[in-house]
């Protein structure tokens, strides 16, 4: 077996169920202005009781698409589409803006079309706006404020090491303070070893 790890080349598509196909098209195609790329229709494909459905794709730039399934005649599942609170926003889609002006223009366009959109939120190395689609799915458009340096990346790797050692797979009763103290010990060592 080869030890070579194959590469990934960015997102082709992510897909979500919708029970609002008309509003979804109006939002993604007409408000966000994304080009329709592909649409599949199928009847009775898949396991028993699998409904008839459509699967359609919008171009989100750089070869990526966002896609939806509309399962005809099924009961809407609000638990899947628009859960509120932090668990509902954890799973989200964030697209790239290329400049501060582009991020501002997106915010202005969303507001102009009556979409509730956040202020620009400054994070460590990105700046973002947040909004939701008609299904309730959380969306983000983000601008990389500065390129990530090797020190940023090493720090992220150390944080993940500290996280895995501290929390494992959620079986530990450790706190974030425990993790920060472990990280502190790691950083102390790196500084001590540096010339």
């Amino acid at each position: 077996m080869s030890d070579t790890i194959p590469a990934l080349h960015g997102v082709h598509h992510t897909a979500f169920p919708t029970w609002k196909p008309k509003s979804t098209v109006a939002f993604y195609r007409d408000i966000l202005g994304l080009k329709v790329r592909h649409a599949i229709t199928a009847k009775g494909w898949g396991p028993e009781k699998h409904p008839d459905f459509l699967h359609f794709f919008f171009d989100a730039g750089n070869g990526s698409t966002i896609a939806f399934f509309y399962y005809i005649g099924t009961e809407p599942r609000p638990d899947l589409t628009g859960p509120r609170g932090y668990l509902g926003t954890a799973r989200h889609t964030a697209w790239t803006a290329n400049s501060p002006e582009e991020l501002q223009a997106w915010r202005a366009r969303l507001k102009q079309h009556g979409v509730a959109v956040s202020d620009e939120i400054e994070h460590e190395t990105i700046r973002s706006i947040y909004f939701r689609d008609p299904n309730g799915y959380p969306l983000e458009i983000t601008l990389q404020s500065r390129p990530l340096e090797p020190a940023d990346i090493r720090d992220a790797e150390l944080t993940l090491d500290a996280m895995c050692e501290t929390f494992g797979d959620h079986e530990s009763k450790a706190t974030i303070e425990d993790m920060w103290r472990r990280k502190g010990a790691m950083v102390r060592q790196i500084m001590a070893e540096a010339r």
């Binding site: 939120i121 400054e122 994070h123 460590e124 190395t125 500065r146 340096e149 090797p150 020190a151 940023d152 090493r154 720090d155 944080t159 500290a162 974030i176 303070e177 920060w180 103290r181 472990r182 990280k183 502190g184 010990a185 790691m186 950083v187 102390r188 790196i190 500084m191 070893e193 540096a194």
Partner: protein, 79 residues
Amino acid sequence: MPSLFVLDVPEFAPLLEGAEKSYRVSRKAGYAAIMAPDELVIERAASGLGDAIWYGALTGGYEGRVREFNAERLRIAKE
């Protein structure tokens, strides 16, 4: 000695500039260590940090015991 480790990047520069007025700050290997002989206190108002950076300010790790960390103040005491 209570110490706070901060990644030495532009986002944390205001925090480090503020800390240098009161504490010893040592920079090495892409990190800055803020060291206090007794207790390390950083006031949010003086640091000028927005939410995302302030609430993530302990990401680099620390030594000591966090006695207070809220929207206004970070206080790390001795073990």
